[in-house]
């Protein structure tokens, strides 16, 4: 194709249209579905690169499928914001400078003075979508003030600058993610916040499932995928012995992708896995040895 194509969505209109690949580890799909139907906010716990975001995408897609729509139609009209029966997915990656107004919205200056613009959370609330706040503990503390009323029975969003209160649309669900090992103790999630969510714990998939995932995602031979899954497994064994963050499924997929492009396996693992997960030279050397033990 010669012309550059891109698609532009309004935040609240974006939804997952193709079925994302997701290999369930246990009953997380059922739990999430149940929680969604009962409007219970969900907290996803787990190390980075384990598939939390993918899971949300998958669930957003899955819950939008006719079967579910039919079911919900039997009771009440389903999510409607985008009109096509799809549940919008609003993802916000939190960072340490993220304030409440980044989520709710703010006045912007323009030629005619100031104009109010809704923030992503407000849009999700209005559109009845899933609002996924990734790495929530990174955000400023003042965000909790707005999260609390949205995540209990009230389901209200207060916009004090406008003097408004918005009732969340039916399909709205707050989902947050959080990586317990990653942040330091100071940045722990408050208990009052935590207890508003049902928690789904994500761990690294067992080698068999991870093999499938890698094969699917990178479209590589089973043998390569198996070896990568083994590598991931071995490296994760080191979490208790000085490795801060273990190799995620994501880096394994990257390594597989590089191999697919013709990069030599050992080298691919080195750049995608070893150097990605640690700067400690000794640890790098040890991991390299594991790599050379597994890959020829």
């Amino acid at each position: 194709m010669t012309t550059t194509e891109y698609r532009e969505y309004r935040v609240e209109e974006y939804s997952v249209k193709e079925e994302p690949f997701y290999a369930p580890l246990s009953d997380e799909i059922e739990i999430f579905t149940a929680a969604y139907k009962q409007k219970i906010p969900v907290l996803l716990k787990g190390p980075t690169g384990v598939g939390k975001t993918r899971f949300i995408e998958y669930m957003a897609w899955r819950l939008s499928q006719p079967l579910n729509v039919v079911k919900s139609k039997n009771k009440k009209p389903g999510p409607s914001a985008s009109g096509n029966g799809m549940i919008p997915l609003v993802t916000v990656a939190c960072h340490e400078d993220l304030t409440a107004s980044d989520l709710i919205g703010r006045y912007l200056l323009d030629a005619n003075g100031t104009r109010w613009v809704d923030g992503p959370l407000t849009r999700a609330v209005k559109a009845g979508g899933i609002c996924y706040l990734d790495e929530i503990v990174e955000a400023r503390k003042d965000t909790t003030v707005i999260i609390h009323p949205l995540t209990d029975h009230r389901r209200l969003l207060t916009i004090d600058k406008l003097g408004q209160v918005i009732e969340a649309a039916d399909g709205f669900l707050m989902v947050i993610s959080y990586n317990p090992g990653y942040q330091n103790a100071l940045k722990d999630l408050k208990h009052s916040t935590r207890q508003r969510f049902v928690a789904l714990e994500f761990t690294f998939p067992p080698p068999e499932i991870e093999t499938e995932i890698i094969m699917h995602e990178a479209d590589v031979e089973r043998e390569i995928a198996e070896q990568l899954a083994k590598l991931g497994d071995k490296i994760r064994n080191l979490r208790d012995y000085g490795l801060a963050e273990a190799a995620s499924t994501r880096v394994l997929i990257y390594a597989a992708l590089l191999m697919k492009q013709g990069v030599a396996p050992r080298r691919a693992c080195q750049v995608a896995v070893t150097w990605g997960i640690t700067d400690d030279e000794q640890m790098q050397r040890s991991i390299d040895e594991v790599v050379t033990t597994i890959f020829a």
């Binding site: 912007l108 200056l109 490296i235 080191l238 000794q282 640890m283 050397r285 050379t292 890959f295």
Partner: protein, 1139 residues
């Protein structure tokens, strides 16, 4: 003889008669000897000479009370002497003797006595000199006369191997020595007499050295002679002379311990390759001028270094050493002692060998990754030292939790290959753990065999001599233990029914592995087969799972294969075992077995092949082992001619699995097969027939990369630690009887020296048992303590240390003289402080209530400072006027305006982490009001034993104390501060340190950084007490390592001390103070490089002098009044953290 002469002689008659007459006054011996001598001399001397001779006899005899003895000796020696001296000289000789007698008759006695022998080797003109040499040693005392006499006595002996010039110089050297000590000179004289004949041409050089030494450092001379007679003589002459010339220059350079130099260096020279010896000595001369102390070290270290380097590499390494000396002469000794990082790095760089220490961490992490267990990696030496059944220091092995590897890999000419070797052997060991070799469960089913184990019965246990020994020993050595189960002393061929008596008593097996091996009547064969089979399983699994390693793994297998003994050279049963070993190493052709056993071999092949399946488990190996055992246990172990071997066709299809004749197998294991009653009887007959030329079965040689496999011991040891770790459920403790039983039977136990005879064996077995019990206790986590325990003394010399215990850490130490680190020099043992009473804490807070209040108020004042105005925000409390104006201007001028026009008071997060490091040295026990004694008076004895006594008395003093000690003030300060710190929310840890020697730096955790405040902490503070010394460096390094793990914007290391750092051996060559101060300074600098702000608060009034060096340009404060500490500490803290 002329008539003139005879006339004269007759003229002399009356004179002579007078002499004879006068001699009658003396004891009869004199006259008697006179007559004998005269009879001989009459005809040989001119009358005048004869008269002179006689007169001398008379004169000598009359000189003193006992001088007649000298005269008698004179007379006795005369005829022999006269034969050797011309007559003029002869009389002169008599005169010399007479003069000696003036000084001391005993001197003369010795002189005369030695003369006949001495004069055979002495030119007549030297007689005078000789006499004078001896005379010079005499200084009128009894001791000096002894020495001088002795000198005459050994002179003939000395003259035999020395020229007179040499002899003279030796005599002079004795003189020098005798001025210091007659005894010493005398001893040297004795030694010299024995030494010189063996020294050859180098006598002269040696005498020179000994003379120089006598002048420079006389005390060492004896050592020199000792060393020379044992070691110098062992050298080739050419090296000897070189060595002596080096020694001479060393003496000139005021080097001490020449004797030691000779002993050590000679030994070392003889241990380097012959063609390199001369060169080594040449090299050794190079540092003579700049760093004489290095010379000895260079030579003595050479053999060890040459184990790792080729001669040319050695020279390269030495060049680096010389460069180090050029830069700083003081660094030489540390370099050659391998105590400087530079030396080690250079060595490492040059050698192709890989040292385990260098790659240990990597291998450990690697093995942990593979196995997902908390594996340690250590040198084989360590498990051998434990003496619990492992003896081979070159074989890799594991006992289930630690992988033991040989200390150096030096098989190949490239580093990478050597590391690859380490990797292969470490992988094999770690796979024993990963793939469950030690998880064997007797009752677990196998995956591919019919399980026969449950139907088998333990073979009657043959008591080996060894086992019997242990049994006796245990009962003898350990009182209170009675042998509960008198072991059946059945023969190996006993019928299965013999095991009946065991049926009665339910045998408790310590390990599943032991229970399994009990099935075999020949445990050694059983173990050997199981080992090969299990290794085969592992190898196949490794090759499948770890494809990256496969290439080098296969190479290693091939290399091992090429080193195997020839099957044809082995007796038949051993040949069969070797066949399996070779099969397991993937030999593909030309495999032979004794004639008639090819079918058996094919069956074995089938079984071994089954184990190559990925799904095979250790239980499969066990089942396979029983089957193979059944096939070959009855093969007679005869040596047969080579023609009687035939090839096993490996191209043949692997035979299909036949219906297994399980009964047959079971019979071998005392199962209840139908024909069980008769068969064994048959086989025992067979055995008897063949017994005549059968040889004792020997285990196959170890396959090098597989190392040693001791599953039973591994299971036992893991059992021990599990029992120890298991708190609830009250596990059955392992009894001595059980352990004894295991030791009796296990085929895995090896002994260091089988030749030592029965007594030695007994001792070793006893030791092994004791060691096992010790090991058992050590593995009990409740048992780990230190501090009050015996202090292990590690000499200050010696190499890097290893942290073997849990919670111990190794740190380098800075040697300012060498200007380099001493690698892995100190061990820090970390331990949680024991808990005392919280009384002290409460009292302190109560007594200082006002101060506490004040501190709290001050800290509250700190809080508002934490709020700062943050400008240029998109959102905030108010408009930031400046920004708004800017923004409006931008808009008006058509630029994109900034939206950041607000400001807000933002809480700046206080993000501080502090580690408080308290000096718990003995000197903090001093009373604060009577600080007359300077605080750096570390009067502790250096000897560990004396030290313990000293310590005890010091502690006893402490018990009677009613005054406040420095340490109490430290504690108070910490208490007041922590109460305020809780308010700020800062992260902080409190640690105390002390220690004794570099291997015992104690590091007490009172509060860990991430530990929450709790009631335990006041109780731990209570136990802060003066202990031993202050080795600050390692403690600082350890605290720094804790600080950098904390995520905080500012990290502070706050040390509170009462004096300068000091410790036994925190020094070298008497530069104690400086050494310690410099190491501490470097430790602080390291901390600063890590982003930690160090601060030192001391209560030593004299602190300014060394703190200036120690803290360099870092912050410190000297408190002039110790009682100020509790007030000052919080103030300082505030200043530091607000900066």
């Amino acid at each position: 003889m002329t008539t003139d002469d005879s006339r004269q002689a007759s003229d002399l008659g009356p004179e002579m008669a007078r002499i004879e007459k006068e001699l009658e006054r003396f004891p009869g011996a004199v006259l008697e000897k006179y007559r004998v001598a005269r009879a001989e001399l009459d005809s040989r001397l001119r009358p005048q000479d004869l008269l002179d001779w006689g007169n001398h006899a008379l004169a000598i005899a009359g000189k003193a009370v006992r001088s007649w003895e000298a005269s008698a000796e004179y007379l006795e020696a005369s005829p022999a002497v006269q034969r050797q001296l011309p007559s003029g000289q002869f009389i002169r000789w008599a005169a010399i003797g007479g003069r000696l007698c003036d000084d001391s008759p005993s001197l003369a006695v010795s002189f005369f006595k030695a003369s006949p022998d001495a004069l055979t080797r002495l030119r007549p003109r030297y007689v005078d000199d000789w006499a004078n040499l001896g005379r010079a040693l005499y200084r009128g005392t009894w001791k000096s006369s002894n020495l001088a006499c002795h000198f005459y006595e050994v002179s003939p002996q000395l003259l035999e191997s020395l020229t007179f010039a040499e002899f003279t110089r030796f005599g002079e050297s004795l003189q020098v020595l005798s001025r210091r000590s007659y005894d010493l000179a005398d001893e040297c004289l004795v030694k010299a007499a024995r030494l010189f004949p063996r020294l050859g041409e180098e006598r002269d050089a040696f005498i020179t050295v000994s003379r120089d030494l006598a002048e420079h450092s006389w005390r060492e001379v004896k050592g020199l002679y000792d060393a020379a007679s044992t070691s110098l003589t062992a050298l080739e002459p050419v090296h000897r002379s070189r060595m002596l010339s080096i020694a001479r220059r060393l003496i000139a350079a005021e080097q001490v311990n020449i004797g030691e130099f000779f002993a050590g260096a000679s030994n070392a020279v003889n241990h380097v390759p012959a063609e390199f010896r001369q060169r080594l000595l040449e090299l050794a001369e190079e540092p003579l001028a700049a760093s004489p102390a290095s010379v000895n070290l260079l030579i003595t270290q050479a053999p060890a270094i040459l184990d790792r380097l080729s001669p040319s590499q050695f020279e390269e390494w030495h060049r680096e050493g010389m460069r180090a000396i050029d830069e700083s002469p003081e660094s030489g000794p540390a370099y050659y002692r391998l105590e400087s990082a530079r030396a080690r790095e250079s060595l490492d760089h040059l050698s192709s060998g890989v040292e385990l220490n260098r790659v240990k961490e990597i291998l450990r992490t690697y093995c942990r990754a593979l196995s997902n267990r908390d594996i340690e990696v250590n040198a084989t030496q360590q498990i051998v030292d434990k003496k619990i059944g492992w003896v081979n220091e070159q074989s890799a092995t594991t006992e289930g939790t630690t992988i033991y590897l040989p200390p150096v890999a030096d098989r190949f000419s490239h580093k990478d290959e050597n590391f690859g070797w380490y990797k292969v052997i470490a992988t094999h060991q770690s796979c024993h753990i990963e793939f469950g070799s030690f998880d064997f469960d007797f009752d677990a089913p196998s995956t591919m065999f019919q399980d026969l184990r449950p139907e088998m019965h333990p073979a009657a246990k043959p008591k080996t001599d060894l086992a019997a020994t242990v049994a006796e020993l245990v009962t003898d050595a350990i009182p209170g233990i009675t042998e509960t189960d008198p072991s059946p002393n059945a023969s190996p061929n006993a019928s299965p029914n013999a095991s009946e008596e065991e049926g009665g008593i339910e045998l408790a097996y310590l390990t599943d592995m032991g229970r399994f091996f009990d099935l075999f009547s020949d445990r050694t064969l059983g173990l050997d087969i199981f080992t090969v089979v299990e290794d085969t399983r592992l190898d196949s699994r490794i090759l499948y799972e770890y494809k990256g390693l496969a290439a080098s793994y296969r190479q290693t297998q091939a290399a091992s294969l090429s080193e195997r003994p020839r099957i044809e050279d082995l007796p038949m049963r051993e040949a069969m075992v070797e066949f399996i070993v070779r099969l397991s190493l993937r030999q593909t052709g030309n495999l032979k077995v004794p004639k008639g056993y090819t079918d058996t071999a094919q069956q074995i092949r089938r079984i071994v092949n089954m184990l190559s399946e990925i799904s095979a488990t250790v239980e499969d190996s066990a089942e396979a082992a029983t089957r193979i055992y059944a096939m070959i246990a009855d093969v007679p172990n005869n040596t047969i001619p080579e023609e009687d071997f035939e090839d096993v066709n490996l191209d043949d299809e692997i035979p299909d699995e036949e219906e297994e004749n399980t009964e047959e197998i079971l019979q071998m294991f005392g199962g209840e097969g139908e024909s069980a009653g008769e068969e064994p009887a048959d086989s025992s007959q067979q055995d008897e027939q063949e017994f005549t030329d059968e040889e004792a079965y020997d285990s196959p040689e170890d396959v090098d990369y597989r190392g040693e496999f001791k599953p039973e011991m591994a299971q036992l040891l893991s059992q021990l630690s599990m029992d120890a770790a298991d708190f609830d459920g009250e596990p059955e403790p392992i009894t001595q009887e059980q352990l004894e039983e295991l030791l009796k039977n296990s085929a895995e136990l090896e002994q260091a020296d089988m030749e030592e005879g029965e007594e030695g064996q007994q001792q070793q077995m006893d030791e092994m048992l004791q060691n096992l019990m010790k090991e058992m206790q050590q593995r009990d986590p409740d048992n780990q303590r230190f501090g009050d325990g015996p202090l292990v003394h590690v000499p200050e010399e010696g190499g890097p240390l290893e942290a073997t215990e849990p919670n111990s850490f190794v740190y380098d130490e800075w040697d300012f003289r060498a200007n380099d680190y001493k690698p892995r020099w100190c061990i820090v043992h970390e331990k949680e402080m024991a808990e005392g009473e919280s009384q002290f804490y409460e009292d302190t807070l109560a007594e200082n209530a006002a101060l506490v209040h004040e501190i709290h108020r001050q800290f509250e004042l700190v809080m508002p400072e934490m709020y700062r105005k943050v400008k240029r925000l998109e959102d905030g409390e108010e408009f930031d006027l400046d920004a708004v104006i800017e923004s409006v201007i931008d808009r008006r001028t058509g630029n994109t305006p900034s939206e950041k026009v607000f400001w807000r008071r933002n809480k700046v997060e206080r993000d501080v982490a502090v580690a408080f490091l308290l000096d718990m040295s003995a000197s903090t026990a001093e009373a604060i009001d009577e600080n007359k004694r300077p605080t750096d008076d570390w009067g502790a004895p250096d000897d560990p034993v004396e030290y313990m006594v000293w310590l005890r008395s010091r502690r006893a003093e402490g018990l009677r104390r009613s005054y406040k000690r420095i340490v109490d003030i430290e504690k108070e300060g910490i208490i007041l501060l922590t109460s305020a710190l809780e308010q700020t929310g800062d992260t902080y840890g409190i640690y105390g340190f002390s220690g004794y020697g570099r291997e015992n730096v104690e590091f007490y955790v009172i509060k860990e950084m991430d530990e929450r405040w709790g009631p335990a902490i006041p109780r731990r503070i209570d136990r802060i007490a003066p202990l031993h010394a202050t080795r600050m460096g390692p403690a600082i390094r350890h605290a720094t390592s804790k600080l950098i793990k904390v995520d905080a914007k500012s990290r502070i290391l706050f040390m509170i001390s009462d004096g300068r750092p000091q410790d036994r051996g925190y020094s070298r060559e008497g530069v104690e103070k400086e050494y310690a101060v410099h190491d501490t300074r470097v430790a602080f600098e390291e901390a600063r490089k890590e982003g930690v702000t160090p601060f030192c608060l001391t209560v030593d009034k004299n602190g300014h002098d060394y703190l200036k060096t120690m803290m360099h340009d870092m912050n410190y404060e000297v408190l002039s009044d110790i009682s100020m500490l509790p007030t000052r500490l919080p103030q300082l803290y505030r200043q530091l953290t607000n900066a």
